[in-house]
Symmetry: C2
Subunit: 498 residues, 2 copies
Amino acid sequence: MTAPNGPLADLRRRLAEISDLERMAMLLAWDQEVMMPAAGAEWRAQQRATLERLAHERFADDHVGALLEASVAETPLDEDLLRVTRRDYDKARRVPGDLVEELAHAGATGHEAWTRARESSDFALFEPHLRRNIELRRRYIACFPEAERPYDALLDDYEPGMRTAQAEDVLERLRDGLVALVEAAGPAADDALVTGGPFPTEAQRRVVETVLRQVGVDDARWRLDVAVHPFAATVSPGDVRLTTRYAEDDLDSLFCTLHEFGHGLYEANIDTALARSPLGTGVSSAVHESQSRLWENMVGRSPGFWRWCFPQLQSAFPERFGGRTWQDVHRAVNVVRPTLIRVSADEVTYGLHVVLRFELELALFEGDLDVADLPAAWAERTRAYLGLEVPDDAHGVLQDVHWAEGLFGYFPTYALGTIISGQLWARIGAEIPDLDERFAQGEFGPLADWLAEHVHRYGRRLTPNEIVERATGGPLDPGPYLEYVRAKLAAASAGLIA
Amino acid sequence: MTAPNGPLADLRRRLAEISDLERMAMLLAWDQEVMMPAAGAEWRAQQRATLERLAHERFADDHVGALLEASVAETPLDEDLLRVTRRDYDKARRVPGDLVEELAHAGATGHEAWTRARESSDFALFEPHLRRNIELRRRYIACFPEAERPYDALLDDYEPGMRTAQAEDVLERLRDGLVALVEAAGPAADDALVTGGPFPTEAQRRVVETVLRQVGVDDARWRLDVAVHPFAATVSPGDVRLTTRYAEDDLDSLFCTLHEFGHGLYEANIDTALARSPLGTGVSSAVHESQSRLWENMVGRSPGFWRWCFPQLQSAFPERFGGRTWQDVHRAVNVVRPTLIRVSADEVTYGLHVVLRFELELALFEGDLDVADLPAAWAERTRAYLGLEVPDDAHGVLQDVHWAEGLFGYFPTYALGTIISGQLWARIGAEIPDLDERFAQGEFGPLADWLAEHVHRYGRRLTPNEIVERATGGPLDPGPYLEYVRAKLAAASAGLIA
């Protein structure tokens, strides 16, 4: 056993404290979106800043460095802990506190400017703030001079160990595959069945709660609340909080909830022996996103799911679905049709929205794209990948908040997650051949168990690449996802999808 | 202006950080009672312990001492800040960290043992834990050897600067006055009108929300939620959270909510210039309790309040109150009748429950009362003050959680608060002669403004004694409260109360 007063035990105590602070930050964020009265905003911002600064100071100080040097691993778990902590520590020590504060401040200012710019659909109002965010990120990149390429330093914050070249390669293949598949697909089917409201919120809520119970959510450990921008927050291993939103027009609440459930289930299933340590959370943004997209799309748009779920929908909305079949709904929720806005895109074209953003980020940081030319570049790629004209900035370059907050390197993880979900889905299908039939019986446990065993439980003990390779049998590869899309579109055009 | 990098500015920054941590602790506690899934409990306990330890460490360290020594006040506000901070600092430095942890641990263990003991109504199960709590508190007392009397050190944590002798004096006068008044009162009127349910929760909620809006609560700054043991939590000056509970049997939710509103309004009205500093909170437990009891009883049981509120009650419960008058309700909510349980006691006999506990605490720490003899002493005083026999420990010595958690010195503040509320009420009545008529018109603003002006805004800039003397014109004195009770009982027995 670890000596209770040795450096490793001291280190573990310090890391537990920092983990507690990070979880509290999660709770403060959740509370702000879901519970807090509006007048609490300015004070909450100060509370969150205090918490973040303290967590950073308590981690990035000399004492932790000395403990890391003095600690000797006695178990494989210790080895993993020390390796991951050293990595985090080295990164935390690189970035001066002043720069961290400047980034946070510029992000907040940028967010405000972006809100105003989007309201008047005028990129010019946002441009100087975006320029400032990019300039600060360049200073951030400069803290990591050993990176082969500037973008590596950004990507590494979300995908530890991933290089820009690898992301470029797989996202280019994803893009080319999707563009070809979407172009070759026939005209989209009619989805008015699930987009033409009204679907009263209370009835949606009943369906959502029934679905969550069926996939494994219980009140002892989970909450579901409403938020304008839905998210999942894991406050502790015994306290997982999902949020969703209800619009009377459509049934997106169901897919949104399944998406957040995927995130929450990942965190909920991490080995509790890793709790209160840097190992006790999801390994990367892309692996996290693979879980959310798998539940949202591969489960939530599968025939089996709808064979089980359709009676729930009929009971909630008897007038709308009384004379229809599960096949009707299944067909409607699988419609593929290019649109301008990422967050309301269908499952398939979503990836093209993301690749577009990744390519523009890369051009901003590594190429010759100037901020002033961003709207034109956005329009050009929207035409090329989605075949659509961008009517104004609000429906183009101003639609997402990420860049306004100074988040660069995050977008690609959405598509990388989709790619991983395709690989996982192929593997799961091979190992559980009757999976769709199980869904039809309302049995989602076998899938949840598989994911817990092969992905979730490790937390950060394995690298993202190790997770993918062990769980799927190979390296990151867009092939299985493209095959999944190809089969789905082919079935739809042959009338075989439902 | 304060030099931005001088010791005073550094001190202010550190104090703001600690204040933020304390407010977060408030949020974590609120969330645990109101929102948290049950399985989060053990992790939440660790998160709260981390937060408390960190707040203590960041305050009680040498650096703060050095900043305090080097800081020079430039304004009266600085002087108040430095005086209060030095006091807090000296106290925090006196108690070894080990003892703080032992106290917390024994409190948690004691709470568990108390829960089991109360379930089986068996004091013997709780006795060793109580003995342990008292032993640890004696060690705590020993950290303050300059105290004249042992109990002074306990009382001072809740009533800064108050001495045991003063509390003994005023509480003895309160006790003697109340015992005589209750004995002399005629038989209690019938209160079945407001205690014989059912009062459906939804209808109670509507009344409670209407009342809160009328006394000044708005959604931009306040929340109201349900909790098993109601409390108020001020997460920031812009974020005040009340909790209440609904029982279908009675209308106590209304008084409970007004009580918590009194606490919340105090914190909400503190000068925001004091926010994020040790000055930015209520000055003492008794002054806080004076506010809650003033709104619960002096407002909530006044004729004017019921002239305004009665139509709300009629509209919520038309069958029950259709043929009744506001006088009927006013009479029923003012019934005085000795009972065994403190938390459900009427306004008047409540004070006797509290004095009983104070006297027993004092006998445990300064007299010759042994823990084993506590149930007998409890029964004896219950007979003497309330004229009732204690049937078992659950209805006697095991009814309150405070001692189980190691809280000693807190009980008297309930009665001291009542005394202060009486002094304030007399003064307010003299300054706003038509107050009751204003209530009848639904106007509670004049009262709220008076309290903000004379009590709330100061935070901790004045001492509790200064607050009382400036606001009421004299020192702590049970006379006005006893006169208030005497007048109420006399009016009731003369049929003049409604």
